[in-house]
C-alpha cells in the first residue's frame, strides 16, 4: 500500500514537473532525482544545496528541475525516463538504488547525459560520482575511540550496500587506532528515511550500553535522541548541530555543489565525458562540521588527522587490518585499493554484528 501511494505521488509529481518544463526551452535543462525530501536535513538536502548552487551559478543559461521522494526500485526507472523525455540534457540520480534504473534509461536516451551518485555502473552517457565519506568516518571513529567510556559505539545503518559497510569499517578502523579493543554494535533499519524507526534504533542501542552514536540514515532523529539522553553523536550528510547542540561532535557534510557546477560547465562547453569521479576531503566535496563538545586534545587530534588525510599522508584503510573472523586483509603498511572499497562486503575485526547477506 505504501509503495502504491508513493508511486501515485511520484506520478503526480511527474505531471507537475512536465507542466513547468514546457516553458523555457532555450535554456539547458539539468535535472535531479531525489530519494528523500529536499528538507530532510540530511542526504537529499545536501544534494538540493548543490542544485541551488548550480541555479545561482548559471542563472541565465541553465534551468533546473527535480523530483523528490522517488522510491528506489521499479518506480525509479519510470521517474528517470519521464525526466529524460521532458527535455533534460543532464540528469543527476542521487541515490545508490537508482543505479540499474539509470543505466537502463540511459540506453534508451543516448543523447541525454546521466550522472549517478555512489554507484559503480557506467556507460558512455552515464558518469558516476561519489565522495570519500569514509575519510570523515575514520576521523569520527578516532574521536569516538578517545571519548567512549564503555569502548562501544552504536551505528544506525540503512542498507547493507558496500558504501554503508565501508563507513562502518572506516569508523571501527579509526576508533581502533586509538583504542585497540574498541567494539561496535550495528542496527540495520532497512530504510534511508524513517525518523521514528531511526529514533527507536538509537534508543535500543543506548539501552544496550553504547555511549556514543553514529548514523548512516538521513534524518536528524538519532541526533535528537542523543541530545535528549545527553550522549555524544555524529551527524550525517548535513551539519546536524541544531538537533544536537550539546552533543554533536562533528558531522560529515556532503558538499556536492562544486562538483555539480563543474559538470554543468563541462556540459555547456561540450566537453562532458563519462567519468568515474571519487573525490574526498582534499577536493572539498566532503567537509567536516566544526569539532565541538570535546576536549581540546581530542579536537587537535581530529584536526591533525584531517590534515594528514588531505595531504595524502594518511589513508584510513592502511594495514595491518584483519577481517571480522581474524583472517588478515591488509598487511602492515598496505593500502586498500579503490576497487575493494567500492565493493566492500565484509566487516573488519571488532564489529559485533553479522553482516546481512546481500
Amino acid at each position: 500500500m505504501k509503495k502504491l501511494a508513493l508511486a501515485l505521488a511520484a506520478t503526480a509529481a511527474l505531471v507537475l514537473s512536465i507542466g513547468s518544463a514546457a516553458e523555457a526551452a532555450e535554456k539547458t535543462k539539468v535535472c535531479f532525482v531525489y530519494v528523500g525530501t529536499r528538507t530532510d536535513g540530511g542526504w537529499t538536502q545536501a544534494h538540493e544545496n548543490g542544485r541551488l548552487q548550480v541555479e545561482k551559478e548559471f542563472a541565465d543559461k541553465v534551468e533546473t528541475s527535480f523530483l523528490e521522494s522517488v522510491p528506489e526500485g521499479p518506480d525509479a526507472e519510470r521517474a528517470i525516463e519521464r525526466m529524460a523525455r521532458s527535455g533534460c540534457s543532464l540528469i543527476f540520480t542521487t541515490s545508490f538504488g537508482y543505479m540499474d534504473a539509470t543505466v537502463a534509461v540511459a540506453k534508451k536516451f543516448p543523447k541525454v547525459k546521466f550522472e549517478h551518485a555512489t554507484g559503480f555502473k557506467a556507460a558512455d552517457n552515464v558518469a558516476t560520482y561519489n565522495s570519500r565519506f569514509y575519510e570523515g568516518r575514520y576521523i569520527s571513529g578516532i574521536i569516538a575511540g578517545k571519548l567512549s567510556k564503555t569502548g562501544t559505539a552504536g551505528y544506525i545503518a540503512s542498507f547493507p550496500i558496500p558504501e554503508v559497510v565501508m563507513g562502518i569499517n572506516a569508523f571501527e578502523t579509526g576508533a581502533k587506532s586509538v583504542n585497540p579493543n574498541f567494539k561496535m554494535k550495528v542496527i540495520w533499519v532497512n530504510t534511508w528515511f524513517d525518523p521514528g524507526k531511526e529514533a527507536d534504533a538509537a534508543k535500543a542501542l543506548l539501552d544496550q550500553g553504547v555511549d556514543i552514536l553514529t548514523q548512516h540514515t538521513d534524518t536528524t532523529a538519532p541526533m535528537q535522541v542523543a541530545e535528549q539522553r545527553g550522549v555524544k553523536a555524529f551527524g550525517q550528510a548535513s551539519d546536524m548541530i541544531k538537533a544536537g547542540p550539546n552533543v554533536q561532535l562533528t558531522a560529515i557534510i556532503d558538499t556536492w555543489g562544486n562538483y555539480y557546477v563543474k559538470r554543468v560547465q563541462a556540459l555547456l562547453d561540450g566537453t562532458w565525458k563519462s567519468e568515474q569521479s571519487w573525490d574526498g576531503l582534499k577536493d572539498g566535496i566532503l567537509t567536516m562540521a566544526p569539532y565541538t563538545n570535546m576536549p581540546d586534545d581530542v579536537k587537535k587530534l581530529a584536526e591533525d588527522t584531517e590534515a594528514k588525510i588531505k595531504s595524502g599522508e594518511l589513508h584510513p584503510f592502511t594495514g595491518p587490518i584483519n577481517k571480522q573472523d581474524g583472517t588478515p586483509w591488509l598487511k602492515a603498511g598496505e593500502k586498500a585499493d579503490d576497487g575493494t572499497l567500492l565493493g566492500m562486503n565484509f566487516y573488519v575485526e571488532g564489529i559485533d554484528d553479522k553482516l546481512p547477506a546481500q
Partner: protein, 306 residues
Amino acid sequence: MSIFEAILLTVITASTPLVIAALGELVTERSGVLNLGVEGMMIIGAVGAFAAAQLTGSAYIGIVGGIVSGALFSLLFAFLTLTLVTNQVATGLALTILGLGASGMLGEAFVGAPGIRLLPIEIPVLSAIPYVGTVLFKQDLIFYLSILLVIGVNWFLFRSRTGLKIRAIGDNHASAHALGINVIRTRYLAVMFGGACAGLAGAQLSLIYTPQWTENMSSGRGWIALALVVFSSWRPWRLLAGGYLFGAVTILQLHAQAFGIGIPSQFLSMLPYAATVVVLIMISHNRRTTMINTPASLGKAFVPDR
C-alpha cells in the same frame, strides 16, 4: 531503569500512534465509510500539531492543533465522498497524496526547528509500582488518551444508542435511512472522528515520538493503522492488542540486532508485516466470525431515496 522497562517504554511510544489512528478509522468504517486517507490525515495532524506548538510555545495547544487539522482535513474527504458521492477508494488515496504534499509545503518554515516535547505526567502513588509504574503511569497525555479512547469507543459503539445507529448504518444504510436515521450526517461525524484521531496520532509523532518536523515523517504508519482495523475485525480491544503486538515486534527486532543475534536484518524488518499477515489469515480462517463483524455497507456510496 532496567532494560525491560526501557524496551516497554519504546514499544508504547511506537504503538500509540498506530492504535489511535486505527481506532478513528474503526469508527469511520463501522459507519460504512472506507477512508484510505489515514496516512494523509496523520501527516496533516503532525504538521498542524507542530505548527501550533511552535506558534504558541505549548505542546498541549499542539495536541489541539493536531486534532483540529486532522478533523478539518477529513471534512474534505467527507464532502467529496458523502455529498458529491465520489469513489471512496480513489478519494482516500488522493487524500493521502494531497496530505503528504500539502504538509510538506505548510511545514517548510518549521524544518529544523527544535521541537517542543510533550512531557510525561507522573501519576502519584501508581508510578511508584516497580516495573509497571514507570512504564504505565509516567507517560505523556496522548498515551493516557489512547487508552481512554479505546475504552470510550468500545462503550460508545456497543453500549450507546448512537453507537447502535452507527453500526446499523454501516451494516445496511438503506434500512437505517428507512428507519429515519440521518445517514449522511452520522457518516460526516464518523469521518471527522476518524480524522481527529489520525490528527492526534500525527501529533504524537511530531510532539513525542520524534519532536521535530520532517516531511513524510509518518513513513507509512497510516497504512499500518488501516491494516490494524481489518486485523482487529473492527473491535477496539483486539485493535489495542494488535497495535501493541505490531509495536512490540518492531522494537524487539531492533533490540535483537543490537544484541547481535545472527538473523538477517531484512528478515527482522519484515517480521511486523509478516505477523500482520499471519494474524489476518488466522482471523479470516473462521469465515463466519469475520463476516459478522465486517460492516456490510463498507465502501458503498449512499444516495438518499435512490
